[in-house]
C-alpha cells in the first residue's frame, strides 16, 4: 500500500503527465463539455482514492487509464442517453497551423471523436488505448484480458471504426 507522502507524489505525477489521457478518455464517453468536466473531476477523485492501493505492478499510466475507463463506464450507464450527440467545441485542435489547416483538422478530429463515441463500449475502450500508444499487453492489463484477446479486440475496434468513418479516414 502507498504511504500518504507517496500518494501526493504519485497524484502530482498524474496531474502533470496524465491529465491529457484522462481528458481524452472522458471525451470518448461524453461530448457535453460541462458533463465531461464533471466526469474528469470524478475520475481524478477516483484516482486519488485508488492510489492508496497502487502497488507498482503496472505503470502509473496503465493504472490511471483503467480507473478512468471504469469511471467513464459508470458515468454512461447512469446517463439517460448514450452517446450524447452534442456539438463539439470549435477549438478542439490546437497548434500553430494556418486557420484553414486548423479548420480541416478540427473537422477531422470531430469526425474521429464522434465515430469513436458510436463504437460499442468494449471496442471503444480498446481503440482509445491503442491510440494512446498502449501495447497489446498493456491494453490487456487495463481491460483485464490476455494480450491475445486484447489484440483481437483492438483489431475488431479498428475494423468497426473504419466502417463508421467510411471514406473520411
Amino acid at each position: 500500500m502507498v504511504a500518504e507522502a507517496s500518494r501526493e507524489e504519485l497524484f502530482s505525477e498524474v496531474a502533470t503527465r496524465h491529465t491529457g489521457l484522462i481528458s481524452r478518455i472522458a471525451l470518448s464517453y461524453e461530448a457535453d463539455p460541462s458533463l465531461r468536466r464533471e466526469l474528469m473531476q470524478d475520475i481524478l477523485l477516483a484516482v486519488w482514492v485508488a492510489l492508496t492501493a497502487f502497488r507498482g505492478d503496472s505503470s502509473l499510466k496503465t493504472f490511471v487509464a483503467s480507473i478512468a475507463q471504469k469511471r467513464s463506464i459508470s458515468h454512461v450507464t447512469r446517463r439517460a442517453r448514450e452517446p450524447r450527440q452534442v456539438e463539439l467545441p470549435p477549438d478542439l485542435v490546437s497548434g500553430a497551423a494556418t486557420p484553414d489547416e486548423i479548420a480541416m483538422q478540427n473537422d477531422r478530429k470531430k469526425h474521429l471523436v464522434k465515430s469513436i463515441q458510436l463504437l460499442p463500449i468494449p471496442q471503444r475502450e480498446a481503440i482509445v488505448l491503442c491510440f494512446e500508444g498502449f501495447s497489446y499487453g498493456e491494453v490487456g492489463q487495463v481491460l483485464g484480458i490476455s494480450p491475445n484477446a486484447a489484440m483481437l479486440r483492438c483489431q475488431r475496434a479498428k475494423s468497426s471504426l473504419t466502417a463508421i468513418m467510411g471514406r473520411d479516414i
Binding site: M40, V76, P122, S135, S159, T162, A163
Partner: protein, 221 residues
C-alpha cells in the same frame, strides 16, 4: 510494441486500417491540449485533491458527532445496562466511519479482474439496489396505513372509526400538508425506481456487449 500492427486485407473482405492511417488518426487523437485546456486540467486536479481531502475527514467527523451524541445520551442518565450496550455501539461507529472513508469504492476501482467481470459486478449491485427500492416502494403505502392506524389507536380511536378519522384529518391543513409530503415522497421513490431500472437495463446491454467480445475472442480461427 504499440498496438497498431494490423494486416491489410487487400481485395478480400472489408477494408482495414493501414498502419499509416492508424498513426495519423492516433496523432490526431493525441494532439496536445492548448494552454487554456492545460490550465483547466490543472485546476481540475487541484479541486479533486481538495475534495478528496474534505471527504476523507467529513465522514469521520459525522461518525464522531454521532458517537458523541450517543455518548451524551448515555451519560445524561447513566444506567449500567445502557452503558454496556451503548459503548460498543459508539466504538463500532467510530471504527466504521474511519474504515469506510479509507475504503470508499476502492475495491471496485482497483479490481484487476476482466472488464466484463467489473461490469457484471456493477449490474449485480444495481439489481440489488433496485430490489431494495422495489421492496421499499411496495411497503410505502402499507407502512403509511399501519403507522396512521397506530397513531389513531394511540389517540384512543377504534378500528371502526379509522376511515372516518382519516377522511376528517385530510380536510385539515395539517392533513393536507402531510398528504402532499407523502405524495412527493412516493413520486420520488417511483422516479428513483424507474431510473434504477433504466440503469440496470443499460448495464445488462453492456454485459451482453462484453460477452460478445469474449465469445469472439474465444472462437477458433
Amino acid at each position: 510494441m504499440p498496438a497498431r500492427e494490423i494486416l491489410f486485407d487487400g481485395d478480400y473482405g472489408p477494408r482495414h486500417l493501414t498502419s499509416v492511417e492508424f498513426d495519423q488518426l492516433a496523432a490526431l487523437w493525441k494532439q496536445e491540449p492548448d494552454a487554456f485546456e492545460r490550465r483547466e486540467l490543472a485546476g481540475l486536479a487541484r479541486r479533486a485533491t481538495r475534495t478528496a481531502r474534505f471527504l476523507q475527514y467529513a465522514e469521520f467527523v459525522v461518525g464522531l458527532l454521532l458517537g458523541l451524541g450517543i455518548l451524551a445520551a448515555l451519560f445524561v442518565q447513566p444506567v449500567p445496562l445502557s452503558l454496556a450496550l451503548g459503548l460498543p455501539v459508539v466504538v463500532t461507529v467510530f471504527w466504521y466511519s474511519w474504515k469506510s472513508h479509507a475504503l470508499g469504492n476502492l475495491a471496485l476501482l482497483v479490481d484487476r479482474s476482466g472488464r466484463d467481470a467489473f461490469v457484471e459486478s456493477m449490474a449485480r449491485s444495481k439489481a440489488a439496489h433496485l430490489a431494495r427500492s422495489t421492496i421499499g416502494l411496495c411497503l410505502f403505502l402499507p407502512t403509511i396505513v399501519v403507522t396512521s392506524m397506530a397513531i389513531h389507536s394511540w389517540k384512543g380511536g377504534t378500528l371502526d372509526g379509522y376511515v372516518q378519522a382519516m377522511a376528517l384529518a385530510m380536510t385539515k391543513t395539517g392533513g393536507i400538508v402531510t398528504m402532499v409530503v407523502l405524495l412527493v415522497a412516493l413520486l420520488l421513490f417511483i422516479r428513483t425506481n424507474l431510473r434504477l431500472r433504466q440503469e440496470l437495463g443499460r448495464l445488462q446491454l453492456l454485459c451482453g456487449e462484453y460477452r460478445e467480445e469474449t465469445r469472439f475472442a474465444a472462437e477458433p480461427g
